[in-house]
Structures are given as C-alpha cells and as structure tokens.
C-alpha cells in the first residue's frame, strides 16, 4: 500500500476517493472521469491516488500514468491555492496575452507552470477559453474570467485572492 505522506488526514480523503472510484469500479472506460473527479477532490494526482484508481478500475498503473501525462488538465504536482490560467488563444495573443504573462511574471516572480513559494498562485497558460470577445483574458480558479486586461489592473485583481 502506497501511503500519502502529506499529512492531510489521508483516511478521510481516501474514503472520499473510494466513493469516486465506486461509480466506475471495474470499468476501465471511466478512467478519465475518475481522474477528473479525483483531481478536483485532492488538487493533484499523486502516486497513491493513481495506484488506488488503477486497482479500482482494473487497469495497470502504467496506463493510468500514461493518461495522466497525456492530458493537460491533470497534474502530478501540488498546485497553488489559486490557479491563474492565462488564455493563449489567437484572439488573446493578437491583443496582448504576452504582456499579461510578462506582468504576472514581474508581479509574482514565477513563470508559467510554476507556483509561488507561498503556495498562493499557480500560473498556467491554457488553450482558448472561448472568451475571445474579451481578449486578452485570464481565468482564476476556473470560474472568474478577467477580460480586456491592461497590465496595470493585474496587481489589483490578484489582491482579491488571498
């Protein structure tokens, strides 16, 4: 048994994870749905989670790892409390997503794909979020879209997320 080492109160999490797995127990085709829910629950997909899902669905750990590393949505490492996703769609690019990223780099001191040392923010570049009318745009925590961004607004926006 591979145990969680982060001291997060693994028992409770394991119970909840098992509930997610139960919905698709023994069904390999449910792998992506289970991984999505597991990541929403835990925040990322550490080895112990992948192992448990592999057993539960009846697929090999190698297959689980293959799927996790194929799709951009899944993460093997912990992420910050708030996820900043800068849209890298064409409309945003044409209207200045490069400047948005540069500003975030200056303000937070981290590059895309990195998390700030205080675990507050993770900065990511994502595929088009479909808010092209509001370009350049970024989404924080998967729900708050901030559009028509000007560099000087960014520090103020970040302050809203503790």
């Amino acid at each position: 048994m591979v145990a969680c080492t982060c001291g997060c109160g693994e028992d409770e999490l394991t119970k909840q994870l098992d509930k997610v797995i139960d919905e698709y127990r023994g069904q390999p085709s449910g792998l992506i749905q289970v991984l999505t829910k597991a990541q929403n629950l835990i925040g990322y997909l550490p080895l112990w989670v992948q192992t448990r899902i592999a057993k539960g669905l009846g697929v090999s750990l190698q297959e689980v790892y293959g799927v996790v590393t194929f799709y951009a949505f899944f993460s093997l490492i912990p992420r910050g409390r708030h996820k900043i996703a800068v849209c890298a769609g064409t409309a945003c690019y044409v209207k200045g997503s490069k400047t948005v990223l540069k500003t975030l780099r200056e303000v937070l001191g981290v590059k895309e794909g990195q998390t700030t040392p205080d675990s507050r923010f993770t900065v990511e570049v994502v595929r088009c979020i479909g808010a092209c009318g509001l370009a350049p745009a970024m989404i924080i925590d998967g729900k708050d879209v901030h559009g028509r961004l000007e560099p000087e607004q960014i520090p103020g926006i970040l302050e809203q997320y503790a």
Binding site: Y71, C128, A131, V145
Partner: protein, 565 residues
C-alpha cells in the same frame, strides 16, 4: 412523451405564455427581459445586473409582471452585458447593476427608451433601439442559433414552444430510418467540424455497416484557439444537440450517444447535463420514445485538455478512457468507431442543424448557401475588429460583408491586413481576397480552411511571421507525438521561425519551411499534422515580403519581433 399530440399540447400552451417575446403585448405581463448569459456576458458580470433588475422590480412592486431570463450567447460579446426587452425588442448594451432602475422605471413602467444604453452603429448619430434593425444582426441568418434570443436554455418547454422535438417526433412516427438518412443527404449539409464531409453520406455508411451496437457521438471538443461557436450552442440551446443526435440514432439504429465536451467549458457541461435530465424526464430520451419502441440515451464525456482529441479517431479513443492518440483510417468510424463499433461522429454545429432539416425539409435547407456548401455557418469573430462575437451567415457571404458590415470594421482607423480562419489548421487570407464568397471550396483554394469557424481579424500591427510562429508553437505543444512527421517536423519548423523572428534568419529558410511544410502535409498520420503547416504556407504565399524583410534586413514592419543584436 407518448405522442405528437402530447407534444403539441405543451407547445401550444407554452407558446401562448411566450407571445410577448414575439412582440405581442400581454394582458398579464409587462415585459420579458432576456439577459445574455453567454460566457462573455457572464464574465462581464451580467448576473449582478439580473439581481439588480429583480431588486428593482420588487421595489416597484411589479416583480410578478416581468420575467428576467438568462439566455444563451446572443453574439455581440464586446458590448456585454447585453439584454433584449420584449415586447418591443429593444436592445440594451454595456449594462451595469446601477442601470437596472432606469430600465425598470423608465422603459418597463413608462414606456420610454433609455437612450444612453442603446446601441449606436459606428459613425451613426442616432441610436438603433430595435434588435432586428441592427446592422450587426440584419445580415445574419439564424438556423443553428435560431433560439438564442428566444428561449431560456434551462427550460425544455421554451425549446418545445419553438418547434423543439417536433422533428424527432416526425422522424420517429412519419419517416423510415432510410428516409431520414436520405433527407439529410439531400439537404447537402457538410460536417461543420472542419473537413466538410457530407453528413448524409456519413450516416448512410454507418447505417449500412453490419456491427452492433452502434453509437452516435457529438464532438464538443472545440479546441481551435479563437473559436467559441460550439460553446455558444451548448450553453444557449442544448436541446438542439440532444434532438439532432436522437434523430441520428433512429436513422442509423443506435441507442447510445456520447457528447464529448472540453473541461474548459464548465457552464456548457452544466447546461447540457441539465438538459439531458429534463429530456429524460419528459420522455424524449430513454425508453420507448413517442411510443415507437425507440430507445435513446446520452452520456457526457469530459475532455481533459488535448487539442488532438478534436480529431475524430483520437476523440473516440479518449471516450474509451485512454490516451487520445489518433489511428490511421481506414477503418473509418462509420465502420469501426468507439469500442470498434460503427459510429457517427459529428460536430456540435452540425447536430444543431439536423432538427431544422427534418422539420423544414431538404429543399428548404439546400436553397440556402452555395452550389457546394449548403446552409449557414457560424463564425466566431474576434481580434482587431469592432464587433467581436458570434455571427451566423449563409454560406457564400463574402469576407468583406462579415468584417465590414457585420463586424463594423477595424478599430482606431488601422489598416486591415488579414483574416485567419480555421485556427491552427487554417491560413491567413489577405485584403486582396476580401470579396471571396466563403464556402468550403473557396477557403481551401486560398490555402486556408473553414475549420470549425474561428475568424481572427488582424491589422497592420500584427506581424504575420509572428502569427505563423504562434500557431506552430501551439502545434508543437499539442502534437501527440505518435507519428514522426508531426512530432519532429513541426518542431524543426518552429525552430526556423524562432530564428527568423529573432533576427537570425538565413538565406534559404523560406525554402526549407516550404519543403518541410509540404512533406508534413503529405505524410502525417492525422488531420492535425496534415493541416499543421497551413498557417506557415499561407503566410509565405501572401506575405513573403514580411519573411524576407525579417531575414534580410532584420526588420519587423509591425514592430512585434524583437531582434537580438
């Protein structure tokens, strides 16, 4: 749902309740306020406006006489939040919560327009109050987006009121499966996902295929950067997808459907799952639909962020819960699709057309559009243009009409340079070609592509070499790595483009890009790789001088590229 009569009854009673949205004043209700609830307007905080509106209605004691409804995307995203107030169909834009009182107390209670919130065409002195008079909408023809001004996407009876599920009833009770396939074939509709294959042919291959069970799949993995049409349909009219898929299920003999939606579209996923539950509750999905013995179920599969999954064989593999890598064709999905069973896979926009084709007939549908491309096309207009948002136009409309008449031209008096269509599979179309009527053939002939319908406008401040690099960067990131032309070839092309855009370009780089591009086009495994060089090849074709000035003079006319000395 047991019979067409039962459906007709719901339709009649609901239609009566919605008469006000057709411009007919009601005895009991003062107004219906349709507030755009598309992703753009939600991001512009339209929900706060709705709350303020409701508070204002309550304050004035008329909350029971006015309905405030959140609709699907209405199109003009940059003017958001927008709303239409019925019965007079007045269009208001850039609404803030503090505007609620003005609309309620002036417009709804006294019948006076609120001029400062009305739309003014660029350059016009007088506002255009009525939505149907706006130049932005006047040139459009709405088939796919037929319900967007009219229905509450979370109310199945609103959909039924506008002829929803009548086509399914017709296909089940008055037509044979073969007749349904024939009707779709005769309509001449071609797949809206990009490649433009005949939808009817696809269905007929699958219907003839021997394996069982068969499957119906909707591709909602709208991955092209700059495209958000499918999102609008999923959010604004989810039942049109359900109905289209069920009709296909009947036509080819399938009982199970899957909708594959990107995880990046949470609202679309919510609205669609709610719609599926409702359709089930009304007996429009499930067992023995319309008492004909026909069973059909739909399940949602969430895409986890891989552009290649928009390619059909990769998407089908992803539905099975595996790495979404493409497979060589044949076998085509019509014979061996999901779980190696016969499968029809169409894009969201294609599905949204089906019910209208069955309802109004192939002759009606094929009267719209050009000789080779029938019907309408939805485009997502964005970039350096005044009116950004979603537009639906008949095939054969020219780019000039879209950019200048519907899109309102280029802001800040800048010069138009190009339109990029088809995303990373498409190309850039220059000013000389603005009068080309758009259809599948004409765009391919120009070295671009219909793609799924993203249309990004670029002006003199856009560097075409930089744009080519942007798309190649995207492809290198998203290439699944299964075949070497795509995995290695696109990487080499990117390296050359990086060289050129940093002032290290060499004589012969353009020729090398052309050679690599043409080789990748003819040797890559799937559609992603085969079309990946298009953005580069098309910009070399029309903007070769920009490449040359980067290489020979270290000059970027648009001042985008920074050259390292």
């Amino acid at each position: 749902m047991k019979s067409l009569e039962e459906l007709a009854k719901i339709k009649a009673s609901r239609r009566e309740a919605l008469k006000i949205r057709e411009g007919i004043p009601s005895a009991t209700e003062k107004a219906h306020v349709m507030m755009c609830g598309g992703a753009g307007c939600i991001s512009s905080n339209c929900k706060d406006v709705v709350e303020a509106m409701q508070a204002s209605l309550a304050k004035n004691g008329i909350a029971d006489q006015v309905q405030v409804i959140l609709t699907g995307c209405m199109g003009p995203c940059d003017m958001g939040p927008v709303a239409i107030v019925y019965p007079d169909a007045t269009f208001y834009r850039r609404l803030k919560p503090k505007d609620a009182d003005a609309i309620v107390e002036e417009h709804i209670m006294k019948g006076n327009l609120v001029p400062r919130l009305l739309y003014r065409a660029p350059g016009a002195k007088e506002p255009t109050p009525k939505v149907t008079d706006m130049d932005l909408f006047a040139k459009q023809k709405k088939i796919v987006l037929r319900n967007n001004f009219y229905i509450d996407p979370t109310n199945i009876e609103d959909y039924i009121a506008n002829d929803g599920y009548v086509a399914l009833g017709k296909a089940l009770t008055a037509m044979t499966p073969a007749e349904v396939v024939e009707e779709v074939k005769k309509a001449g509709i071609r797949g809206r996902g990009g490649a433009g294959f005949s939808t009817g042919m696809k269905w007929s291959f699958c219907a003839a295929s021997k394996g069982t069970p068969k499957y119906v799949v909707c591709n909602g993995d709208e991955g092209d950067p700059g495209a958000f049409m499918d999102r609008s349909v999923l959010e604004g009219d989810p039942h049109s997808i359900i109905e289209g898929m069920a009709i296909c299920g009947r036509a080819i003999g399938a009982e199970q459907g899957y909708v594959y939606v990107r995880a990046e579209y949470p609202l679309a996923i919510d609205r669609l799952s709610y719609a599926i539950d409702k359709a089930r509750e009304y007996g429009l999905l499930g067992k023995n639909i319309f008492d004909t013995g026909f069973n059909f179920e739909i399940e949602i599969r969430i895409g986890a962020g891989a552009f290649v999954c928009g390619e059909e064989t990769a998407l089908l593999t992803s539905i099975e819960g595996k790495r979404g890598e493409p497979k060589p064709r044949p076998p085509f999905p019509a014979n061996e699709g999901v779980w190696a069973k016969p499968t029809v896979l169409n894009n969201v926009e294609t599905w949204a057309n089906i019910a209208e084709i069955i309802l109004k007939g192939a002759d009606w549908y094929s009267s719209i559009g050009t000789a080779g491309s029938k019907g309408t096309k939805v485009f997502a207009l964005a970039g350096r243009i005044n009116n950004t948002g979603i537009v639906e136009v008949p095939m054969g409309t020219t780019l000039r009409e879209i950019v200048y008449e519907i899109g309102g031209g280029i802001p800040r008096k800048k010069a138009f340079k190009a339109v990029q269509t088809g995303g990373p599979s498409g190309g850039c179309i220059p000013a000389e070609q603005l009068d080309t009527p758009i259809d599948f053939e004409s765009l391919t002939a120009l070295g671009a592509m219909m793609g799924s319908g993203g249309m990004i406008v670029m002006d003199e401040d856009t560097c075409m070499v930089d744009i080519a690099k942007f798309f190649m960067d995207f492809i290198v990131d998203e290439s699944c790595g299964k075949c070497s032309p795509c995995r290695i070839g696109t990487k080499r092309m990117l390296e050359i483009l990086e060289r050129i855009t940093t002032g290290k370009g060499k004589e012969g780089d353009i020729e090398l890009l052309l050679e690599l591009g043409n080789t990748i086009k003819s040797t890559a495994l799937c559609g992603l790789g085969q079309t990946a060089p298009n953005p580069i090849l098309s910009t070399i074709k029309y903007f070769r001088d920009e490449y040359e000035s980067h290489i020979k003079e270290n000059k970027c006319a648009a001042k985008v590229c920074e050259f390292v000395e």
